[in-house]
Amino acid sequence: MKQHQSLEESLKTYFGYTSFRTGQKEIIKDIMNGKDILGILPTGSGKSICYQLPAKLLEGITIVVSPLISLMIDQVKQLKAANFKEVIALNSFMEPVERNIVYQNLHRYKLIYISPELLQKQELQKKLVQLNINLFVIDEAHCISQWGHEFRPDYLKLNTIIERLDNPTVLALSATAALDVQDDISKALKRPTITKHIYPMDRDNITFCVQEVSHDHEKISILHQLLSDYHVPALIYFTSRKAAENTAQLLSVKNPSKRIAFYHGGMEQIDRITIQQQFMNDQLDVVCCTSAFGMGINKSNIHLVIHYHLPPQLESYIQEVGRAGRDGASSVGLLLISPNDVYLPRSIIEKELPSPEDIGVIFQQLLNYFKSGEKLPANEASIENMFQLNEVQWRFLRNQLEEHGMIDTGKIKYDKDIWIAAYHSIGNLINERKLVKKNKLNEMVQWVFEKDCLRKNLYKGFQSTYSPAAYHCCSNCGFTFSEWSPVETKQNVKNSLSWESKLKKLLLIGEGYEAK
């Protein structure tokens, strides 16, 4: 550790920030002293600095396990832009040639992001044990818990890997982990005495508002009205990509003075980065997006977050609505709900994992494969196609099949008794997961139809107390939009320059651009 600089000075040197945000310094100090940490910090509190700064300061390498590949890639880009060059994201989408080169040079990096699937690969593990790894970070640590909203079976195996790596300091991070989930994390990591840094996630400057409507077109007219009344940067969350695209188009027509775009996981990386950066730069007023948006985004003056669809659980809602009002100014989280809205998340839960019937058919196909003596196709997409599963479903099933010893690096192993046991155990697991998700959805629905204070009931499963509202509390405590007067941004003037003037401006030709 470089002792000659204070943590504040290092923060300034490496990341350009002048002060720490809540929790960061305490966590970093403990890490530098080799303590294992469970950190629960609300969205937007700068979780990543908690390991990025130690990664710079500690000798050896920091590993970050994160299930969100696009977030990893974004972070790497941002770090590189901030001149932190010894960083890389490893994921299964890398070309074999590229991966080989990177694997040979892993020792050159200070910070390595890895997806949980890839971390299971022996090839990579063998490389990692040869390295000097001093910090092992588990991002989205709630994925380790069966009761968490995003259970990832791969996460349960992290403990074994941590042991293989000679027990580096562990930092488990999450933005939302209910109390039972926190216990699960320390158990699964076999660290019962893990030091906990838990920061409250309630936000006193956000006003919660639930509005019942009878139909989708009513939602559109509410959106249209709000965007006409207020000029504040806004996010509108959707469950489906198509709905995000269509609504963006519709609203652009209805609110021509607003600059509205859409964003979802189905877009090319470059098209997504463009939207993120435009929004950060105030070139956009409204982004219609799916839950893929917002992770890693750091815009402080979002003052309105609207949910067009019902989120699948309170955890997602808290994270998404928490992107509002980072600047402390009065902000509103509006959730629109129509009578049929609960069916969409329900059908997503049903489709998220393969059904017991699917499993039966797939076992039969596997047996045929085994009898023919063939290996499974190397290409994951063709397996998904063969079994008629989507990517998430196949990832889940492959993990289970490996767990039960039915497949090993593409080879099928047959033992009748094991297969029968596996069939039942996988079936049970699927039912269990569906039940967890349905319960989560029920909690969400209950909150939406809550008659009592929304603020009080939103946070009760996560923390014992909450601060009273700084502005207006919630729609159940009497808030209506007529009393909302947020800090508004300047109404943009529609740019009607000729292409030539635009080109001149963007190439910084003419007066007013500081020359070097």
Binding site: N281, W499, L508
Partner: protein, 357 residues
């Protein structure tokens, strides 16, 4: 409707002699001998590789749309062969009148050049405008290593002269863009990213100009081809653009394997020797040679076919209408091989035009 118009144009030339996936391969720029021969045979060189990111799903949707509109009709008794109906032909004529873009493309010539050129230009503008404002902390809009390396290199050479470089880029781009329509120029400018000003993505351009996102991608390619034509016509008028283009090699369009063969060939290895060293079949190496001849205008095919035999093959090609290898083979001396015929076909890019006229 640009994608549709180009599909109709291709179908018109192909006259139902190829399946519609051959059109897909042409637009997508498939590196196969069949596809490259198709573009020469049906004079579709301009459309080769103009839509690299086109997916089969999107293409099939467009084809189905055209069938439903009655513009394409199935060749009787076949499954995937289509000809253009009268309606389709009339519609294409209208489109040609209203959209000059259809004539902008120069696909084969700029295959492998288009993307590199535009990526370099976009990233360079983003980089230099940011560094001029002493802002070094920006997220690059192009995340391809070759473009990044090139820009880094240029940046190090020009970093004290940002204002001058930007002035030059402005003057050259202004002159180039005045040669296309105002709407096209505006679209090109809207896409550029500079200091604190991120350009529009394809969906935003689609919404602004009321095109499909596929048409936007094609439009941008068409505009770039047009600009490249202008630059090539008078290189001395566009020194900076020529500088960006200077070291973009045409070799980029050979398959890796053919490229290796080419390197061996250039160092004087014989076919047998190359096959031996690379542990490949001789026939595979012959395929590579044909592929090389397809792309490299300066490839010395006389190394494999003497001038007299080239003449004979060309004569035979002219007297067959079908353009089939078998038919040509029957019209030439027995000692002329299929490989030699393919080589001559591959190399004589203007052959088909001469045949028809």
């Amino acid at each position: 409707m640009l994608v549709e118009a180009i599909i109709i144009k291709c179908s018109l030339n192909i006259k139902g002699e190829r399946t519609n996936s051959s059109i897909y391969h042409i637009l997508q720029g498939k590196k196969s001998i069949q596809t490259v021969q198709d573009i020469h045979m049906y004079q579709l060189e301009s459309y080769y590789g103009i839509f690299r990111s086109l997916t089969k799903g999107v293409f099939d949707k467009k084809i189905n749309g055209l069938i439903n509109e009655g513009m394409l009709q199935q060749v009787f008794g076949t499954e995937a062969f289509y000809t253009v109906s009268k309606t389709g032909e009339e519609w294409l004529d209208q489109q040609k009148k209203s959209n000059s873009m259809i004539n902008y493309f120069n696909g084969l010539n700029y295959y492998g050049v288009t993307d590199v050129f535009i990526e370099r230009l976009i990233l360079l503008i983003q980089t230099i405008t940011n560094t001029k404002m002493n802002h070094f902390n920006f997220i690059p809009v192009i995340d391809k290593t070759p473009a990044e390396n090139w820009v880094k290199n240029v940046y190090h050479k020009k970093k004290t002269r940002e204002t001058e470089v930007l002035g030059t880029i402005f003057n050259e781009l202004k002159r180039l863009l005045h040669d296309i329509s105002d709407e096209e120029a505006e679209m090109f400018v809207d896409r550029l990213t500079s200091y604190k000003n991120y350009g529009m993505n394809i969906y935003q351009l689609a919404a602004k100009y009321d095109f499909t996102s596929e048409d936007v991608q094609l439009q941008l390619t068409g505009i770039t081809h047009r600009l490249l034509d202008l630059i090539h016509r008078t290189k001395s008028d566009f020194p900076f653009m020529s500088y960006i283009l200077r070291d973009i090699s045409a070799g980029g369009y050979l398959t890796n394997s053919a490229d290796k063969t080419y390197n061996f060939f250039k160092s004087g290895f014989s076919i047998e020797k190359i096959a031996q060293v690379r542990q490949l079949k001789e026939n595979t190496i012959y395929d590579h040679i044909v592929e090389i001849a397809l792309y490299d205008l300066n490839f010395p095919i006389s190394h494999f076919v003497n001038e007299a035999n080239q003449e004979k093959i060309i004569k035979a090609v002219r007297s067959t209408k079908s353009y089939k290898l078998k038919d040509i083979k029957q019209l030439v001396d027995e000692d002329i091989t299929y490989f030699q015929i393919r080589l001559v076909l591959a190399h004589s890019k203007n052959l088909q035009k001469q045949v028809i006229k």
